[in-house]
Amino acid sequence: MNTLISSFRRNRTFWITLLVLIIIFALGVRGLVDQEAEGGERYKNVVITILRGLSTGSIIFLVASGFSIIFGLMSVLNMAHGAIFMVGAYVGWTVAVRPDTVVDATTPIALLISGFLLVPVWDQIIKKIKISPALSRLWPWLGLILTLLVLGFLLPKYPITSWDVGSYEISPVNFAFAASQGQVNVPEPEQFQGISPLIGLGGILLGSILAGITVTGFVASRRPTTAGRAPQPGALRKSLINFIIVALLGLLLYIFNTPISNFLYTLDSTWLFIVAILVAVATGAGLGILIESTLIRPIYESHMYVLMLTLGVNAIIIEVVRSIWGAPEFTMHRPSVFAGTGEGCPAESFGDLLQYKCSTIRILGGRVRTYNEIFITILGIVVLIAVWLLLQRTRLGMIVRAGVQDSEMVKALGINVQRIFTIVFSLGVGLAAMGGVIGAPSTGLTTTLGDSLLINMLVALAIGGLTSYPGAAAGALIVGLLQQFIIKYGQIGINIPFVEEAFKPSPPLVPAMTVLLMVVILLVLPQGLFGRKE
């Protein structure tokens, strides 16, 4: 009892803020109760609004959790997080709607990656060859020119069957529409034009090997002393084997391209959706490794530069997405388990829901969308728990928790912190990409997807506490609920005493109110609700 009181004294502002939030929430709930309706139906709006808030909060959380762990561990504010959320959505859409394009694109990507896996081998070879410093600074530039020539000539010739933003018939918008109608129209696959496939594939592989050598040369010419470490025994063989595996994978995908994409087109949309999630997460994580190891790592101690850099990356990614998928908005169909509308729908109970795979369920007289409100919420909770277990129960999590406080001491214990940084960065960014593909069927696809999410996420983290995991969850929940309550009140209006007409907050007010809440909370609790006072 005494400790309870003293804990209350110490955290008085926290408890009062929490109390105020709960009172606001209770008032908000009370206002939504429909006094004229009968029985349970009175709470229809309450239930729907809370479920929508949970779902919005889930998406925000998927992005915010990774962002906050990355910031806690590396002090990197990754402003590209929203853009990667968007990439996740677009890549996921492509898997779900145009799997053949994904299969086509995988071959050149695998070939491009494979060359970089040989870097450790080149590193050892370069160390053995003694050349003059001037020459060792010159040749990587020549390598770069050669690489660009080879890849610049061959990559555009690689046949990827995709879409044309400029012509409606084969635009993403139309493909999306067809898919939502359950139609599949597979375009005629393209072939190599003007060069033989052997030259095309071999040339890209050669180009990527050249790129790997070039990168090694640049890195080696920057190294101050010869004080490198001897390679781990077996490391060279491992990188050679990795190279062979990835290059072979690319070639096999080329050879079996048609059967694989035909197989994917026969898959049920639910299975394809699962593939979409996996591919989106892998793409996000891969981009994460690329961004972290090439851009952030060299400068990550200058926080201002990292901030500017990731903002730049954010803008670049948005432009690339716009040029590939086009600016017009389009939709993503829901996986079939959440799309049933036939017999037995809308479901009256969760049993029915499972049996008839309905797209909606009736709760207290209101219709709740299975995918948007229920699936996304459950998934958010699953990820919340999974990441929590990862942090609390695994060695990686232990190192992350230690590194958040003192990464120098972690290094001194003999742990390769740099590798942990890369892993955590790619996991965090992968989570954001997952948020994107999960959210896409409910939000649709636009190139501004990332920006609005980035704002919501920053507000959620400011409210919850920037580096606190429970804070990220609480902040996301608060922002999600707040937004959905305001939207609901925008529809039914708020009755203000002595005012004739009900006040209807308009949708543009939503972001403003969210930011306002953040400002108020930051004024009373500068560290956010769960932030640690330093």
């Binding site: 002393t225 004080a227 470490r229 060695r395 232990m398 190192i399 928790r401 230690a402 958040v404 406080q405 003192d406 120098e408 001491m409 972690v410 290094k411 001194a412 214990l413 003999g414 742990i415 390769n416 912190v417």
Partner: protein
Amino acid sequence: MENNTLLKVNDIHTFIGQFHILQGVSVEIPKGKIVSLLGRNGAGKTTTLKSILGLAPPTQGQVILDGEEIQGRRSYDIANMGIGFVPEHRAIFRDLSVHENLLIAERKKGDLEKKEELIFSLFPDLKRLIKLPGTNLSGGQQQMLAVARALVPDNKLLLIDEPSEGLAPVLIEQMMEAIRQLSAESTVLLVEQNFIVASQLAESYVIIEEGHSVKSGKMVDLAADPETIHRYLEAA
């Protein structure tokens, strides 16, 4: 080099930012011995330890461990060669339990299990605190945990920075006893402001002043030389 030398620090220079902090520090540590690094506040003792570990990499000079030059390698590689570090101000991980604070120091699975008996015999208190979060420990308990953490993997060399700082006299006794027992199996480079502690533990010493190692020798000789002590160690 004599082959009973475990670590030889040879005239290293280290910059922190643009400041030239170490300007020629040499230390030699024979296998199985305790060497004490002495010097006033700000002399560069902690920086010397960090230079050895590569946390503040030296730009000049050599650090030779067991006959192998290790300067310029990455910190974690250096630590994995068998160096344990007990930093100034303990650096206990607040969000990890006592048990996790020990577990994180494992270099291979089972390290902790093998050393548990030794650790609990040196610091019996830790056994009862094992489940507590690191943030709940008192200063003295944190210091013991910091030393225990360095014992988890097999280390040939321990770098210990001011273990007696802020401890009550009883605890200082216990800490000294622990370090004495440790040195039976391992070599120790000990930074210590408390001259009485240092002189009872170490066989030899190196004095650092303003980034230079200025004097070294047998501890017994230093104890009998009040002039040197006054000149380099007492408040100026």
